[in-house]
């Protein structure tokens, strides 16, 4: 099992490299297979950021168009996922910055509540999620990009450092400063959530 995993990993890497190189010279079937591998990852990042499926799909489309245009310049000097995460994080932070207000609650793609869950709890949770997104969108750019990779892309501190090509200490200081701002911005929303749960 231990010896099979590195062999499988290197086969996957070689196949991915082939798809990237073929996509870079215009092979759309190769690019389709690359998109198939990663469209869920990019969609999840986008959906966590905007909370609406059609907007998330538009962002994901934009990400893959940018990737396709830039592939001829990709040199395999860092993992493809790091590069993809960076493009996705930039696209979602631009999108949330320019986001128009959602005029209808019907536009929100809500996850069906669990059976027996209190509708007030569900509504409070959605309100908190919207407040979180708005607070992240209002952060200064460096903090916003770093938080986007942790919150929307669910990357660890180490992965964020490698993706942004910055020291781990810089990631820690940015997240520390960003979360201090978020803590103050959301203190009321977090407190209300707490009160709702104890009511």
């Amino acid at each position: 099992m231990g010896t099979a995993e590195p062999a499988q990993s290197s086969e996957i890497d070689a196949e991915e490299r082939r798809l990237i190189d073929r996509s870079a010279v215009g092979d759309q079937e190769a690019f389709r297979q690359l998109v198939l591998r990663y469209h869920r990852l990019v969609l999840n990042v986008a959906f966590r950021a905007v909370g609406e499926l059609s907007a998330a799909e538009d962002i994901a489309q934009e990400v893959f168009v940018k990737v396709y245009r830039a592939l001829p310049g990709y040199r395999h000097d860092k993992p493809f996922t790091h590069w993809l995460h960076r493009v996705a994080a930039n696209a979602v932070t631009d999108a949330v910055r320019k986001k128009k207000p959602i005029l209808s609650l019907d536009a929100l793609e809500r996850v069906p509540p669990a059976a027996g869950s209190d509708p007030q709890d569900v509504a409070a949770r959605h309100d908190l999620q919207r407040a979180v997104r708005d607070a992240i969108a209002a952060l200064p750019p460096h903090y916003r990009d770093t938080v986007a990779l942790q919150v929307f892309a669910e990357l660890s501190y180490d992965e964020i450092a490698r993706t942004l090509d910055i020291p781990l200490g810089t990631v820690m200081s940015r997240l520390n400063a960003a979360k201090r701002i978020l803590r103050e911005q959301l203190r009321g929303a977090l407190g209300d959530e707490d009160e709702a749960n104890t009511a």
């Binding site: 869920r40 245009r69 999620q129 919150v151 820690m172 929303a189 977090l190």
Partner: protein, 144 residues
């Protein structure tokens, strides 16, 4: 003893699991005696819970996603550009080979028997004579 200000700075990386064991122990020791930092840590943990509560996208069908993306992709130009470059490169190499052959033949032609040792083409004349000598049958060599 950890100062209150330093403890405040460490609460977020503490909640994110980014402190060393020694730092964690120092924070734990401070928190046990500081209700304000205990409350702040609770708020930080609630913030982290709120941040991870953002849900992933619901399932989507790939085919329509790909069709829409494919329509937005730029027209494939790279393969034609690559073929044109290869054609130019081949033509260029052929031209360079022909020019070299022509130059060499012309140089040999100018390397006349009267070329003196101080002439730049004299070494070529020597090569030409060596080749001619090697190809001439032995009985005829005195006549060259």
């Amino acid at each position: 003893m950890l100062s209150h200000a330093t403890a405040q700075d460490w609460l977020i990386p503490y909640a994110d699991g980014m402190l060393s064991n020694d730092e964690r122990q120092r924070i734990d020791s401070h928190i046990s005696g500081c209700p304000f930092c205990r409350q702040e840590l609770s708020t930080v943990r609630e913030l982290n819970l709120a941040l991870v509560s953002l849900p992933p996208a619901p399932p989507v069908t790939f085919a329509p996603f790909w069709l829409k993306l494919q329509a937005a992709l730029p027209a494939a130009r790279a393969p034609r550009r690559e073929a044109r470059f290869t054609l130019y490169r081949r033509a260029g190499l052929a031209f360079a080979a022909a020019a070299f052959a022509t130059l060499t033949a012309a140089t040999f032609a100018f390397a006349a028997e009267s070329s003196l040792p101080d002439s730049p083409v004299y070494p070529l004349k020597q090569v030409e004579e060596s080749v001619r000598l090697a190809l001439t049958p032995a009985p005829q060599r005195g006549q060259v």
